[in-house]
């Protein structure tokens, strides 16, 4: 099994964990009608779809398509909306987030549909920039939950803080590999760290 295949499998597991969290959130939303749960569920589903595209890309399941665009779009938007859901307070703000979340989901679907026409990356700086965006989104989430943990001290905020930390590191570690493709082991290491982050995220929502 080569590194790329291993990375693809790890990403697939990551995707399933995120999707599971998203589905669980929507189930709870159907009972409580809490807009916050809808926002969380949508963010996790967007992330899951994005990661699934990354998994397919690494497994070379569709070699003619550059699914990297969808991977970066889905993960950037998904984690950014998860961060936003932690700063919203009122019902109006969550409704606003819900509307924009639906728009973000539509954007991701559009990117996926247009994948056949997307070109390959013109240079290494394009994926580097795209990776930076999702790393920043996760970093924002980490910082937000650090603030919440230091002020409220809840188990949930601690677990979310750790989850975002792992995911941030998992994306940041890809930067050198994007500039130097020979450092291919970093993709597997990054995926593994992100899996741990996803597991902590899932634990936070289920047990936090």
């Amino acid at each position: 099994m080569n590194i790329s295949t291993l990375t693809g499998i790890l990403l697939f597991i990551f995707s399933v964990l995120c999707l599971g969290t998203g589905i669980y959130a929507f189930r709870r939303y159907s009972l409580t009608q809490s807009e916050r749960l809808f926002a969380v569920g949508l963010a996790m589903c967007i992330t899951a779809v994005g990661i699934a595209c990354g998994a397919l890309d690494n497994l070379h399941a569709l070699p003619s398509l550059n699914l990297g665009w969808a991977w970066y779009t889905g993960t950037s938007l998904g984690f950014f909306f998860l961060f936003l859901s932690s700063i919203m307070k009122s019902a109006e703000q969550f409704q606003f987030l819900k509307r924009w979340g639906i728009i973000a989901a539509a954007v991701l679907i559009t990117v996926i549909v247009l994948t056949p026409v997307f070109p390959a990356y013109p240079n290494a700086y394009v994926p580097l920039t795209l990776n930076s965006l999702r790393t920043i989104a996760c970093l924002l989430g980490f910082l937000r939950y650090v603030m919440l943990y230091t002020s409220k001290g809840t188990r949930f905020s601690l677990l979310m803080c750790l989850a975002f930390l792992f995911i941030t590191v998992g994306y940041a570690i890809l930067m050198p590999q994007l500039l130097d493709p020979t450092l291919v082991q970093l993709t597997a290491v990054g995926a593994f760290i992100r899996i741990i982050g996803a597991g902590v995220l899932f634990t936070a929502f289920v047990l936090g």
């Binding site: 009608q33 019902a91 809840t154 949930f156």
Partner: protein, 317 residues
């Protein structure tokens, strides 16, 4: 006078937006209003400014204990602060308005010379008020007597019959009158929610007021809090909620209206404001609040932050 071609243009382009702006501001301002005349005065100024009406008057029928009716001027506003109000607040205009109140009709914009006597028309023309229009507003709500009235005048709460009278320098845009009428209709709805006007028959209970209020004599006694001014607070700490697991702390509320209301509560909006924003009527709001209070999801506060006893709420509605 400030009315000019640009003014007409602003009426044409901004009518819908101005209506929204005025109503939005009124929702905020009305929280502190204690008498309907305060609302009329504020409205006359803001409508004059935003819709470029030179002079605006609110007239209303006033009933007396003797059985007689008179046309009372409730509010006047002029864009020109130096404008002498006796030019429009006089017996001539009052007589025309009284006829319109009796007929329950309105008058489309027309030159002042075709409505008023030549002497009055000349006086108005001297101050560049060349056109006049008015419309009638009526409803079953009781309008309290003038804020400035001495109770010994014998004025009593009167079913709302109003005329809104406008004086302008130039012919008003066709949309101006309907826009002002819509604003007034919304304003009266807000006034009803705030307890500034009451329903016929039972002024206290029809306002749904668990803390007693006395609309007809609100000048004689200090105004007491109305039900619609109370502010519901969620018993969940919003700040703590952000640090808690959303799956664990999701509140399950079986009643749909109560659930809608619960998620709209932000600890700042009063019951009246929540009802307005959720488009719920008085009965729906009371029913939803009763449900939420019984389930201990919320509590009620006075505007100054003091918590009120929920059992008091249940006894009084």
């Amino acid at each position: 006078m400030a009315n000019n071609e640009d003014g007409i243009q602003s009426q044409r382009i901004g009518g819908g937006n101005q209506q929204l702006v005025i109503i939005t501001q009124l929702l905020q301002m009305s929280v502190n209003m204690r008498h309907i005349d305060e609302m009329f005065l504020w409205l006359s100024h803001i409508i004059g400014q935003r819709l470029n009406v030179d002079v605006l008057q609110f007239w209303a029928y006033q009933a007396h204990v003797t059985g007689q009716y008179s046309a009372e001027l409730r509010a006047t506003a002029s864009q020109n602060t130096l404008f002498p109000l006796h030019v429009v607040n006089n017996a001539q205009v009052a007589e025309i308005v009284r006829d319109i109140l009796t007929e329950r009709s309105g008058v489309n914009p027309q030159p002042v010379a075709s409505v008023f006597s030549s002497r009055q028309a000349d006086l108005l023309a001297r101050y560049n008020l060349h056109y006049w229009a008015c419309f009638f507003l009526g409803s079953g709500e009781l309008l309290p007597p003038l804020m400035s009235n001495d109770p010994t005048h014998g004025a009593i709460p009167t079913p709302l019959s109003m005329v809104v009278s406008l004086f302008t320098q130039q012919m008003p845009h066709p949309h101006l009158m309907p826009t002002i009428k819509r604003i007034m209709e919304h304003a009266l709805s807000i006034a009803k929610n705030r307890g500034l006007v009451s329903s016929v028959g039972n002024p206290v209970s029809s306002v749904g007021n668990p803390v007693s209020s006395n609309v007809a004599n609100n000048r004689a006694q200090p105004r007491q809090l109305t039900f619609n001014e109370l502010i519901p607070h969620s018993l969940q700490d919003v700040d703590a909620m952000q640090a808690d697991n959303p799956f664990a702390d999701g509140v399950v509320i079986s009643d749909k209206q109560a659930r809608r209301l619960y998620f709209a509560i932000d600890g700042k909006k009063s019951i009246a404001e929540l009802a307005d924003s959720m488009r719920m009527d008085q009965q729906e709001v009371i029913s939803a609040l009763r449900f939420l209070l019984k389930q201990k999801h919320i509590r009620l506060h006075e505007p100054n932050g003091k918590v009120i006893d929920s059992s008091q709420f249940f006894e009084l509605i």
